[in-house]
């Protein structure tokens, strides 16, 4: 209530010309002015396009990868090795975006990075991956997978652990190999967790990682890396002495509403086709 619901009341500033000094009660009421401005902002279309592409890629590429990783991890027989993999994959979750992006800059450096050294040794030409608009999204997705791998594995592994062992025995009797058990027992066994995580992912579809975006953003890759959040950040916090909190909030309200609609749709679809739902 305190940390999630109460701050929602602050969103009223989207309908005001908010002044930090005058506060919510003293600021001028401007109605839907900020929303109108958003809809008529010629740059908004580019931002929405970049945001949606990135968000869809995050769901389409990241989500299945995390499920597959957990399924394969479950098949590892040596418990110590399995434990080590799980711990190592979980570690990046605790590393800040700033550190992860710095690691990427080092690894992909066009002059001293290991990747470019390999490319050059194999006869290729050094590439400044961080400056290529076409490489921004793959790098972002890679970082997303890297960071979320272990965290999601913990959730799915917990689901897998709760699957009744007798189901595996029955599958064996029916002639299933390891692959068959994975497809016909493990995957359906964690379907509730998978669908829950999928709905949460869809809910976060417009919530790209702003820290990561701002750190990866540069003049060369701006064509793909400038998203709603980076724009709102510029408007709200880095403008020339006029932090426009109201406009930033208006954009975020629209973003949240769209995400909420997507969650409802995903929940309905999950209920209809997978007979499970989040709420």
């Amino acid at each position: 209530m305190l940390f999630k619901l109460l701050p929602v009341g602050g969103m009223v500033i989207a309908f005001q010309d908010y002044s930090a000094f005058l506060g919510i009660r003293g600021s001028e009421w401007v109605g839907l002015e900020n929303f109108k401005r958003m809809l008529t902002d010629p740059y908004m279309l580019t931002l929405v396009k970049n945001t949606v592409i990135l968000a869809v890629l995050s769901v389409v590429c990241v989500f299945p990868f995390l499920v597959i990783f957990s399924l394969f991890l479950n098949e590892v027989r040596f418990q110590k090795f399995k434990g080590t993999i799980q711990s190592v994959s979980f570690l990046p979750y605790f590393i800040s975006s700033a550190v992860m992006v710095s690691i990427m800059y080092t690894v992909l450096s066009p002059t001293s990075g290991i990747v470019n050294n390999l490319i050059v040794k194999m006869g290729g030409e050094s590439v400044n991956f961080m400056a290529k608009p076409e490489w921004f999204r793959p790098i972002y997705i890679f970082l997303q997978i890297w960071q979320m791998l272990g965290y999601n594995a913990v959730i799915y592994m917990a689901g897998i652990a709760s699957i009744n062992g007798e189901l595996y025995e029955a599958a064996e009797v029916d002639g299933c190999g390891r692959w068959g058990k994975m497809i016909h027992v493990t995957l359906p066994g964690i379907s509730t967790s998978v669908i829950t995580m999928l709905i949460i992912s869809i809910g976060n579809i417009f919530t790209v990682d702003t820290d990561r975006i701002l750190l990866l953003y540069n003049a060369s890759n701006a064509a793909t890396s400038d998203v709603i959040q980076s724009y709102v950040y510029r408007i709200a916090f880095q403008s020339l002495g006029f932090p426009d909190y109201s406009y930033g909030t208006a954009v975020n309200i629209v973003k949240s509403l769209l995400a909420f609609i997507l969650v409802i749709i995903a929940n309905k679809l999950a209920d209809k086709y997978a007979e499970t739902r989040l709420f």
Partner: protein, 528 residues
Amino acid sequence: MKKRTVLIFALILLVAFAFTSCGGKEETSTAAAGAEEGGVRSYDMFIRSQYHDWIKELKWYDVAEERTGIHVNYIDGPLEIADTYTEVDQRLASRTLPDAAMLRLSQAKVYGAQGAFVDLAPYIKEYAPNIQAYIDTHPEYKSFITDAEGRIFAFVREMPVIIDFMGYRADQFTEAGIDPASVRTVDDFTNAMRTLKAYFGKTNPNYYPLSGRESALRFAYLWGAAAYVDENSSGGIYYAHEKDNCFNIKAPGAYEWIQTMKMWYDEGLIDPSWVEGTNTEGDWEAKTLQGDASIFYDYYNRAEWFMSNGGPEVDPDYDMQVLDMLVDENGNPIKAPNSVLYGNDNAIAVNRSCDEETIITICEFMDYFFSEEGIILANWGVEGESFKTNEDGSREFIADYSTEETKPSGEKRWSFLSDRLTVCKPVDLEAFYAWNTPLIAEAAERIVQDENMLERPIVVYTTEEEQRLSNLIASVYNTEVARLTSFIVGNTELNEANWTSFINEMDSLGLAEIEEIQLTAYQRTIGQ
């Protein structure tokens, strides 16, 4: 039922608490404001932490506090200047802003009009005669700091007129067989870079003659494509870009500017990571120190920085010098953009919740630095200790720049780097440039001339204009930079059709409106 009542009560309390903290009109008067501490008057001031660190080291500042009998308790803000301005907003919202605060002038005007800051105009008139005299004799200062209703919500400092210098490794030029005096035009400059590339690039694949920090889009002026505003027209984003990263994509030379930069990029004459925006200031410094780059165009004293921060240790022959201004085909110097005399940054406002005595104390302290004695103290120091007066009346530093400026951080020193905010004061340009090593002092004497500098008029904007400009620039400037970079690195083909479509796109995004606002504001300014 009881549980439910308690829950509802708790909820009401929480809502009440949240709305109270979201900014009512309560005034929380600061304690000890203008208080006498053992006969010394004092006040609190919020400032960027780095500025406070600099102030603590200044010998002349201590003298000023002693002479005025006023002590300032500085309250450290964040390290970054943008964060400092943001914290002013937060402190205003939470009513924790101390007696005075460093902020942007636009913030002072907006919040001042809403009642957050003291209208200083009547206080200046009564308690700050030196500032009043300065205002009376500098009408552009008056119109810059005064709002439409004649109110003054902040003290604004005068800034030294700074122009960037082109630094070059004289030893590398000599080694590659280039006579610096022969580098006069842009073509000479390009050819010199080609010679350097051929000479050093054959053994060092990471060598690029020209490197730098932040934006590489700083050479537009060489093609007459710097942003500007005059009484008839305006081109490019001039607001907040009077000196740095100022370009006008509609200028006749703009296309050639990008064409040439593309050529530099394609031929490996310019550091690609700089153009692409992926290098840091540290990367540039390291490259320039270790010989992976020979030329830069940056802050006026950067050449000295490389000399005193490891250059000669890396290479005993390391010799950074400053190139003359480039000239056009007729032999006339190509004028470069320079800083304006008064800027929006680092203004000082006084909290409305201050008592009368504190406001007067602040005004009197500020006023001291506009008095003759204060101006000499803040620009030259103490006679006999940091400077002497020659027989002809001119002044000369006797404190040694290198000795003083290389003292360990935190140690007291004589320092007169007026480009930093210490106090609001008129700048003595002679002292500013004299307080340098011989390398920079000589270069300044050679380069800081009117004939080398573009007209950089002071434009006074209304709050509404600034607000609109601020929002438009947030999308237009970044997109311009991204598109120009895309042309240079080859992600977008550079041809007339794409260039025209780029200009049209920027106009529809708001560039045309920005130019219109700048022109209107300037015409109004000169009208005043």
